[in-house]
């Protein structure tokens, strides 16, 4: 059986992980490679590295970092943040990234999804969507969820699938950082709308939330950051609990 995936997300700025990530037995928690390797050892199924560097100039350091990650880490990883062209994607895949996630650039130019999928295959295209529920409608937002668009989440997801996206990473801006649980209703609807895998993000606070996102939200994977970084949830323990609830994990 295909296992449900647990994916820690690491924010990268100028080649370093951000936020005060707290771990014992880690020489340098600011080093994305060290931290990624630790998560891999703890049983993470994949990793997402999200570059939040402010300038294009500083983003160039990302390719060198991706190469270092690919050398040291033996599980798949996705790289996202500011990717806006086929050339960006080529450089990252060549350095050893397995997938790229695209967000704002795809909203501005949906053709980009198709261009990447044709060149490198759908399997490497993760469409990241940030959305907020406004008057009972899930609206896609840009710039880290600050700027609303005209797009409806479900219509956009459907369009992205037909253009060749291989996965959808849906972040509920309502849930992000609240630790009140994933947006399971929207996720369940999304999983009926498209036939590609869905990664749920935003709202993870406790182990029950992960159980719910797989059973009620019907997600294929769950992504979280702070609950893992601050040691609130241990991935091994989480997987044990999920197994006890008859949810298939590795």
């Amino acid at each position: 059986m295909l296992a449900k995936r647990i994916i820690p997300c690491l924010d990268i700025k100028d080649g370093r992980t951000v936020k005060g990530i707290q771990f014992e037995n880690l020489r340098d928690a600011g080093d994305p490679v060290e931290l990624g390797r630790l998560y891999s050892e703890k049983g993470a199924d994949e990793l997402v590295f999200l570059d939040i560097s402010a300038t294009h100039e500083k983003r160039k350091t990302l390719v060198a970092l991706v190469e270092r990650i690919a050398q040291k880490i033996n599980i798949p990883f996705t790289v996202g943040g500011g990717i806006s062209s086929v050339d960006d994607v080529r450089a990252l895949l060549k350095a050893g990234a397995d997938k790229v996630s695209i967000n704002s650039a795809a909203v501005k130019n949906p053709q980009l999804i198709q261009d990447i999928a044709t060149q490198f295959g759908s399997q490497c295209v993760v469409l990241a969507v940030d959305a907020t529920c406004i008057d009972n409608e899930w609206i896609v937002h840009l710039v880290g969820g600050r700027v609303p668009t005209e797009l409806n989440l479900f219509e956009w997801a459907k369009q992205a699938e037909s253009l060749g996206a291989g996965e959808i990473l849906f972040t509920s801006m309502d849930g992000d950082g609240t630790k009140k649980g994933f947006a399971n209703e929207a996720l369940a609807q999304l999983s009926k709308t498209v036939n590609i895998p869905i990664i749920a993000s935003g709202g993870a606070g406790n182990i029950q939330h992960f159980k719910d996102v797989f059973t009620k939200g019907n997600a294929d994977a769950a992504l979280a950051a702070s609950v893992f970084h601050f040691g609130e949830i241990d991935i091994r323990n989480l997987k044990k609990e999920l197994t006890n609830s008859n949810i298939i994990v590795r």
Binding site: M1, L2, A3, K4, R5, S40, D45, E67, A70, Q71, K72, N74, I75, P76, L93, K94, A95, G96, D98, T118, F120, G121, S122, Q123, C124, G166, E167, N195, I196, P197, D220, A221, R250
Partner: protein, 195 residues
């Protein structure tokens, strides 16, 4: 020291395979040079991407003629394995024809691509030495190779398909050993030990 070659034909994930071998302490050369490939002790034929594009790339460098003639152990990974077969439904592509097998698209009842960790069972090859039955491997693909007499490992995703195949000196695995943690690396190490 054994010479290990990774066939370079512009496909994705070649670096990942090279890095995985480095982690095993093995240096592998990335090349499309026929003489170098023929002289290698082991050949790895990786690939992610699209079947037709990949075949066109192989044809443009004559590798489509060379690969079927190789005598040393050859391991096709993911698309590399699919290209060793007769025909792929992906863009209706004629492939290398080493295995008399068809590559088919997953039915719509399942989410496609098949992405993530799935179990390999019924393991019948030295490349699975010390790999427990039901071990999880990482997959990412939309097309699969049907079960046949060449199947040496099976995975189930809506239907049972070939997780790995073997015929003479040709091996193929649909999953990505280079991305499947320490167990995946062990499979690569086992392949390198084949005589």
């Amino acid at each position: 020291m054994e010479k290990i070659v990774i066939i370079d034909y512009g496909a994705g994930n070649t670096r990942s395979v090279q890095f995985a071998l480095e982690r095993l302490g093995v240096e592998a050369v990335l090349t499309n040079n026929h003489t170098q490939i023929e002289a290698a002790d082991k050949v790895i034929f990786p690939g992610v991407g699209q079947a037709q594009t990949a075949m066109l790339n192989l044809q443009s460098t004559g590798l489509d003629q060379l690969i079927p003639t190789l005598k040393q152990p050859v391991l096709g990974v993911c698309l590399g394995m699919q290209l060793l077969c007769d025909f792929s439904e992906e863009a209706n592509t004629d492939c290398l024809g080493i295995f008399p097998l068809q590559v088919k698209r997953f039915p719509k009842i399942m989410r496609v691509p098949h992405i993530g960790w799935n179990q390999i069972i019924t393991l019948e090859s030295p490349i699975f030495n010390e790999i427990p039955d039901k071990e999880y491997m990482y997959y990412v693909h939309s097309y699969f190779v049907e079960l046949s007499e060449y199947t040496i490992a099976t995975t189930n995703y809506g239907l049972s398909f070939s997780a790995a195949i073997q015929k003479d000196n040709f091996y193929g695995c649909q999953f990505h050993p280079e991305k499947s943690g320490s167990m995946g690396e062990r499979i690569l190490a086992n392949f390198l030990k084949i005589n």
